[in-house]
Each structure stands twice: as C-alpha cells, then as structure tokens.
C-alpha cells in the first residue's frame, strides 16, 4: 500500500523545493482550468432558458429585450466561441456579471472577500494556538491532565458551530454585552465568529497533534536528545514537534472543507458580510454567475492550500526531497 507520503515522494523525486513548487503550480493551474471548464459546462446545462432565469420569474419582457440580452451576454454565439471567450475573460479576472445585482462578479467577490479572509485566518490562528498549547502541554503527561485535555477536545470537535455561535452570542453579546452582535466593522466583532469557527478545528488539530507528539516521543532519537542534556520541553519543541506536525498537514483537505463550509454558517449566524453570505444570497436567488464565481474561488483556495501544504511537507521532512535508495 502506498502511503500518501510515498506518493508525494514520487512526485518530488530527487528534486528540490523549487522544482516541487513549479510542479505544484502547474498542477494547480490545470486544476483551476478544469474547475472553470466544469463551471462553464454547468452554465450550459442549466435547464430552461437562461434568459428567463436571468430576467427572474416575475419579469415579462418583450422578445426584443430578450434578443438584446442574448446578444449582450453572447448567448447567440456557438459553444466553442463562448468557451474561448469565457476562458479569456477569466484570465483577465472577469468572472462575468451577476444577473441579479448587475455588477461584475469579480467586484462582488472583491468586496466580500476580506471579511471572510479575516475570519478564516483569525480562526486558523486561534485554532492552532489552542491546539498546540493543549497538545504540547499534555502529551505523554499525567493521565488526569491528558484525559481532561482529550475530553474538552472531544466536546469541542463535536459541538455544531451554529449552536456554539448562538450560545456565544447569547452569553457574550446579548447578556454580557462584551462583543457586538453583528457586523464586521471592528476587531471586537471578529472575536466571537473566529472563536466559534476555531473551536471545532482546534479540537481535531489538538487530538492529532497530541497523537503525533506521543508517537514521536516514543522514538529512540528522543532518548538520544535527552541524553545530551535537553530538558523535556526542549525535546518537545525542538524534536518531537516537527514530527507531529506532519500528520497535521495531512488534515489540510479536511480543514479546507470545514473552513469553507464553516464560514457560510458563521457569517449567517453572526450576520457578517463575506463570501458565505454572498453565496447564500446567490444560491437563494439562483444567481448563477455569482455561484460559479464562488465555486472557482473555492477551487482556488483548495489548490492554494494544498500547494502550501505540500511545500511545507518538503520543508519539514528532508526525506521527501530525495530518493536515494535505502539499500
């Protein structure tokens, strides 16, 4: 059975980090093109007349107007021409225009993306800090301490984010009035959403990190390190941690999914602007160009995260950078 590690090894065989990056970039571009093509195909396959969808259920437009829209949106051209134009536009960052809001999708996304980026980055940061502290402090330590940490992580990872969000809102915003109820104007408005999104992530990361640390602490090189006079904590930070980080990286796929889904829920619960709310709106109003724009954006996020993770793998584990046969 080939482990994911072995597959990566094959991918980067005998090449340095730079070649690895170049290769990943190429692969990423291919994935993006694939996603764009799928999005285009989906657009073609929408049942019914696109113009009718565009005009919405209530509009009664004259055939002339319909024809005008057709020409304007290029629906009268043959499919290959439209595809070429579509890809060309994408390369210029043109994702088309929203049917409903009559604005370029790229502008809509651009307006909404920063609150979301802030939210996810803050959430990941909080999650990593919580997980690292909880794991490093408790791994391989007294059973009671360890059990407590494991217990809270289990609770955290199994709490549904929307429920947690509502609870936090009730306590900290409505009753204690420490944090604002909605919006994304101030830094304090970021705290509750970020913590809500972070907690379940932190639970999983903490568990995986502790497992990794404990496995690493059993390795002979840990005894060697201690025999040089290193303290317990120095061994954890300088040796065991890097080993434990590798399994963490393999969670990237899960993490991306959780964050993408999580932002939609969190932004709704906390009435924050962002890609999540934009998606909700677009989906409910069948605003296809916006939905497809978000799909492409998600694909891009996935590609980006996987690329970064692969490169981190290479940076952390030198054994992946070469394939000398271990004879």
């Amino acid at each position: 059975m080939r482990s994911p590690l072995a597959t990566r090894r094959a991918l980067f065989s005998r090449r340095g980090i730079i070649q690895g990056a170049a290769e990943r970039l190429l692969a990423g571009t291919a994935v993006m093109l694939g996603a764009a093509t799928l999005a285009f195909a989906a657009l073609q396959l929408v049942p019914g007349d696109t113009v009718a969808v565009l005009l919405g259920p209530t509009t009664t437009a004259s055939p002339e107007i319909r024809q005008q829209i057709r020409t304007e949106f290029g629906f009268d051209q043959p499919v290959p021409v439209r595809y070429a134009r579509y890809v060309g536009n994408l390369l210029h960052g043109d994702l088309g225009s929203s049917y409903q809001l009559q604005q370029p999708v790229s502008k809509l996304i651009n307006d909404q993306i920063w609150p979301t980026v802030q939210l996810t980055v803050a959430a990941v940061a909080v999650a990593v800090v919580i997980a690292v502290v909880s794991a490093v402090v408790t791994a391989g330590r007294r059973p009671a301490l360890r059990a407590t940490a494991t217990a809270w992580e289990l609770v955290a990872l199994s709490t549904p984010p929307h429920w947690l969000g509502i609870m936090l809102l009730t306590v900290f915003s409505f009753q204690l009035r420490i944090f604002p109820v909605a919006g994304a104007q101030s830094l304090s408005s970021l705290v509750l959403p970020a913590v809500t999104l972070a907690l379940s992530v932190a639970g999983v990361l903490g568990q995986v990190l502790r497992e990794g640390l404990e496995a690493a602490l059993e390795q002979p090189f840990v005894v060697t390190a201690r025999s040089r006079g290193l303290s317990q904590s120095a061994v954890r930070l300088r040796h065991a941690f890097r080993h434990a980080a590798t399994p963490l990286l393999t969670l990237a796929g899960w993490l991306t999914g959780t964050l993408l889904g999580g932002t939609v829920v969190i932004e709704t619960v906390f009435s924050r602007p962002g890609i999540g709310s934009l998606t909700m709106q677009a989906v409910t109003s069948r605003d296809l160009p916006v939905v497809l724009g978000v799909v492409l954006l998600s694909a891009f996020a996935v590609v980006l995260i996987f690329t970064v993770v692969d490169l981190l793998h290479l940076v952390i584990d030198p054994r992946l950078r070469t394939t000398e046969a271990a004879l």
Partner: protein, 633 residues
C-alpha cells in the same frame, strides 16, 4: 562481586543496583543487584543476550529509564557525586556533559528531520561548551575526529543520507562533543558490517586511550575482547560472571559465558539447533538460578536458590553453584543437539523472478544499478538465501519481490500469476490480475498480499510504538475480526513463536530485541502466508538470540511449510537456514546453487572472498575480523 584493580577513587561505582519496571502487566525486574566499578580511561564490557538488562543498566546511569521504572542502589556514585539524589535539572547538567550515551539502534537514534551537524551541535549548545560562533567549527572537527570523511558536506546532510557506519560515528560524535568523562556505548557495532564494525571499535579504542572511561555493551564477546579491561556477563538482569577480560575469555566459569563463547552460527554444523536445548528441564522457581532452564548442570538446588557468588581468582567471580572448571582441566563441549536436517519438502513454483532490474538516481545525478538482470525461483516450502554485502541490492530485490517497489524491467510472478513488473506472460487464474502487457498495479495485488509477508532487521520501524502486542498482531489476523476467537488466534500465534500470553498487553518498547523479532514473525504468520521475506532478520540481535530466531524460522519453515526468502550479509546465518543460495554483488547474481555445494566449491571469486572472510566471533582474544576460517562442510 566488586571489581578490584580500579583506581583508588574510581570514576563510577555501582553497587547493588536494582531496576524494576511497572508496565500494565506485572512488574519486570530488569536489573538485579548489579555491582561494578569503572576507573578513568578504563573499559568495562557488559555482555549478554538481549533482554538481559544491559541497556537498562546503561540508561539508569543517565537517569533515562522512564517514569514507570524504579531504580534503587546501595551506592551509585559518579565522580564523587551520588547519582541517586540528582534532581532533573541536575541530571540535565550531567547528561551529555559528564556522561555521554550512544544509544542502541544507531540507525534510528538521530532525528531524521535534522541535519547531522545540528544533532552534533545540540550537545555543544545545550552545555555552552564553546561560543556560538565556534559551534560550527567544533562540529566539523568532531566529525573529522570520529573519522567521517568530507565533514563539511556530511554536516549538512540528513541521517537518511548517511550509511549505517557514518550514522553510528555521527552519533558517537554527538555523545562525546562535550568531552564527557564516561561514555556509555550500547551495542555500537551490532547493526554494522564487519569492516565498518572494526573501524568503529578502533574509534572507541582511541577515545579510551584519550582517557575516557567506556561502558561498552555488546552481545559479542569477540567485539569487546580487544577493548575491555573487565567483562561483566549479564543474564536475566544479573551479572553472572565478572572478571578481567583475559580471565573471563580463557577460563570462563559460568555455563552461560561458555554458551556465549560458543554460540555463533558460523561455527555450527548446518541444520543443528543453535540455541541450547531446554528440553525436559523443569523451570526454576522464582528464587532459583535464572539460567537453570537452559543449563545442563542444573539440579534441584539451582532451581530453588539463587547461587552465591563463587570466587574464581583475583577479581574474577561467577554466580553459579557449580562453576565450571578451567578448560585446561576439562575441555568443554558445548551441548549442541546435532540433528541432521531433513531435506525441505519442495512444492510448486511460488515465486519466479525474471530478469528484474532497477536503477536509482544517486545524489551526483549518475545512475546506480541496484539490481541488474536478477532471476531466481522459489518453490513452496523452500528456503532461499540471498547473500551479499550491504549495498549489493539485496533489499531492492526483496522490495520488488514484496511488490513494494516496481522494477524498471522484468517480471515477478507469485504462484504463477503476474505480481510485479510488466505482466507480459499469460496470466493464470490465481494471482494478481490478468491484464497482459501493462504494469501490474497495487489494486490488482491487494487480494494476494496476504500470501507474501515480510520481517525486517528492525521490527521497531514497522510497529506503531503505542500499540500493544495484541493489537499489532491482531491487525494482521485474517480470520475473526474481534472478540474471543481473535484473541485465541493471537495467543496461538504467540505460542508458535515461543512467546507467552502475558506478552499481549506489552508495547514494543517494553520488549527486548529478540522478543520484538518474535512478535514481528507472529505478525507475518498471522495471515497464513505462503512465503515470508526475511530481510536481515537477525542482524541486530546478539548471537544467542540470533540462534533462537534462526531455529524458530527453520522450525516454522519445516512445520508449516512456509517458504523463506532469507536475506543476510552473514554467510554463517545464510548457511544455517537456506537450502539454496544466491550470491549478489553490485546488483548482479554472481553465483547460485545448493548451499552445501556453494560453500564447499565456490566458483565465483567474490564468493570465495566472502567465504574466506567469515569472522569467528567465538574465538576469544581475536577481535579482528577477516580470519581465514574453515567453513563447515
């Protein structure tokens, strides 16, 4: 038994050391009443089979036996300080700075994610031995000192880029970086080829001459003979014999010391049992002599009472009721049960390797041929030996046969069906997939994986260190998934490999090397395979345990009819186990044939050289390897 002859103020005094582990299952007394002293510039060797308590003794001296162990001693004094009262921060100041430890398993004792230079520098930085700016220079000079060529380049490399010998030297460099007064070297040569072994011993000898005290641990009396001033033989946690090196080697008094001196596979008739027979001996009571089970002199008194130390001359003593006479008086014969080996039953073709080749890119961008045009066949129930020095391509062939690595060219067939490489032949019904012409994929192999299993030199590497023995074996059991049936099956497997059911809850770390290898064998047997690929399965074990594992493998081959592809760099071991033999050099098979025939009439010059270089580890006093020994007929 205290060892006189040390200086007036010996560097290290160990008196009445006891170490007990408290794992999940009942307590394990790993070290019992161990006493010795060691002076500056002296070398004491701890010798004994694996599990005898050597490593635990060494680790006690740096306070690294773990939280679940308790150590007590009447006196534990190093350089005038009482080690038993040290606090953790005080220990940290001693470790590395005053006492260096070279851990067993050099191959996995350096952090694989850090450069060799960083590992050596760690000792210097931790103890602030030199200024920050000088660390790099000191690392390079240390690497040079331990005999690592091209230190600049090596310091930047990672452990996996170094050969076993270089890794061992780097590990020694990191242990001596801060100039400790005492170096504990735990099996520093065990995993190495004979030539490299001699070089590492030479390095240790130089360190000793520079005034460093050396606690050298080995299973091999020949290894320590040239270096040790004193030898202490351990068994079951006890020092059973201790004395000046020449006396212990020339007139061993304890039956176990004699067995150690004689137990080397190369010196025995083929097919004879290597480990001493324990047949029909009643077990010793809890207070009896721990060796009674295997000792042919044992009587009721031995089984009931722990022997009192018997004096055997100046500084020489043995823990035995009936210490053996010096050999001048009674030349001793080892109790080897000389059973001729019945020819192995041969069945149908199990593995056919046809012209397999594999190349790897070396760091300097040239191609390195790990296997060139290798062909062989393995029949059901047969034991095929694959011998060659390290780097000759044995492991590459093994991995291709196991379907873990694809050959560049050639085909491997398992039970007549395509298994690895290009599926050019007509596929039979059994075996992996029938697409012809194309590569055979893992998906096609999966259903047949259970038929071919493997054991390796270092079973630790393939065990999850957190799993219990029960879980490690359980995961490989093909039959019942859970519940009592499964446990019964696991206990059966343990029994087949000579382990008791009380091992079920142990974790790999709590097992000795021999026990680990037995667990690995049990796991390999779990899915009832047709063939087991054994890659250097005994190379990391000491001779007496080696003997037991070889006996076990031979018994399984004959009893269960499992075929063995047995890889080793040790001709003695190969000779003992295999029916047929392949000799590899630089990726090619240079000679093949029936074992007896190849050993008596080697055709290829390389085989002749190999045979001439068989070391004679049992030969006391001759630590150097490369003796021209006669090979058993």
């Amino acid at each position: 038994m205290t060892m006189p002859g040390a200086a007036d103020h010996p560097l290290l005094v160990v008196d009445g050391l006891d170490v007990t582990f408290h794992p999940g299952s009942g307590p394990v007394r790993a070290v019992r009443d161990v006493s010795f002293t060691l002076g500056r510039g002296e070398c004491l060797a701890l010798v004994g089979e694996s599990g005898s308590g050597k490593s635990v003794t060494a680790r006690t001296l740096v306070g690294l036996i773990g939280a679940r162990a308790a150590a007590t001693a009447r006196r534990l004094v190093f350089d005038g300080r009482d080690l038993s009262t040290l606090t953790e921060p005080q220990w940290q100041a001693v470790r590395g700075r005053r006492i260096g430890l070279v851990l067993q398993d050099a191959l996995v004792s350096l952090d694989p994610l850090r450069t060799v230079g960083a590992e050596v520098a760690e000792t210097l930085r931790t103890h602030r031995v030199v200024d920050r700016a000088e660390v790099r220079g000191r690392v390079l000079s240390l690497l040079t000192d331990v005999g690592i060529p091209d230190p600049r380049q090596r310091a930047r490399q990672y452990p996996h880029q170094l050969s076993g010998g270089l890794r061992q030297r780097a590990l020694i460099a990191s242990a001596i970086a801060a100039g400790p007064a005492l170096l504990l070297a735990d099996e520093p040569t065990t995993a190495l080829d004979v030539t490299v072994q001699a070089q590492v011993l030479d390095l240790l000898r130089r360190l000793k001459h520079s005034g460093m005290a050396l606690l050298l641990i080995s299973h091999d009396l020949a290894v320590v003979a040239g270096l040790a001033d004193t030898i202490a033989v351990m068994h079951s946690g006890l020092i059973v014999e201790q004395g000046p090196t020449d006396r212990v080697l020339s007139s061993p008094r304890h039956p176990y010391t004699r067995a150690l001196l004689a137990a080397a596979p190369a010196m025995h008739a083929k097919g004879a049992r290597l480990s001493d027979a324990a047949s029909g001996q009643p077990a010793a009571g809890p207070d009896g002599c721990p060796y009674a089970l295997r000792c042919r002199l044992a009587d009721q008194r031995c089984r009931d009472e722990l022997p009192a130390p018997a004096d055997a001359g100046p500084g020489h003593g043995a823990l035995c009721w009936y210490p053996m006479a010096a050999p001048e008086e009674t030349p001793h014969r080892l109790s080897v049960v000389e059973t001729a080996r019945p020819p192995a039953p041969r069945g149908g073709l199990l593995i056919e390797a046809e012209s397999i080749s594999k190349r790897f890119r070396s760091p300097d961008q040239t191609w390195h041929h790990a296997a060139r045009d290798v062909s062989f066949q393995l029949r059901a129930g047969e034991a095929l030996g694959l011998v060659g020095e390290s780097g000759s391509g044995k492991t590459t062939v093994a991995r291709i046969v196991l379907g873990l690595l694809e050959p560049d060219e050639g085909t491997v067939r398992l039970a007549g069906a395509p298994w690895n490489g290009t599926a050019n032949g007509a596929g039979a019904s059994a075996g992996a997939a029938g697409q012809s012409g194309g590569r055979i994929r893992e998906r096609d192999r999966r259903a047949y994986r259970r038929r071919i299993q493997a054991i390796y030199q270092d079973p630790m590497g393939s065990f999850d260190p957190r799993y219990t023995v029960e879980r490690i074996i359980g995961e490989a059991v093909a039959g019942p998934r859970r519940g009592r049936d499964r446990r019964v099956k696991i206990i059966e497997l343990l029994d087949q490999v000579g382990l008791a059911a009380n091992m079920l809850q142990r974790r790999p770390r709590e097992l000795s090397g021999g026990q680990r290898q037995r667990v690995a064998i049990a796991r390999a047997l779990a899915p009832s395979p047709d063939v087991i690929v054994c890659d250097e399965p005994v190379s990391a074990l000491d001779v007496s345990i080696q003997a037991q594992i070889l006996d076990l493998l031979t018994a399984l081959q004959r009893g269960l009819g499992v075929a063995l592809l047995f890889i080793s760099h040790d001709l003695g071991v190969i000779h003992h186990v295999s029916d047929r033999l392949l000799v590899m050099k630089d990726g090619r098979v240079v000679e093949t044939g029936d074992v007896r025939q190849v050993f008596s009439q080697p055709v290829h010059t390389y085989t002749q050289e190999l045979l001439a270089a068989i070391p004679r580890p049992g030969k006391a006093g001759e630590a150097e390897v490369g003796q021209h020994a006669t090979v058993p007929p």
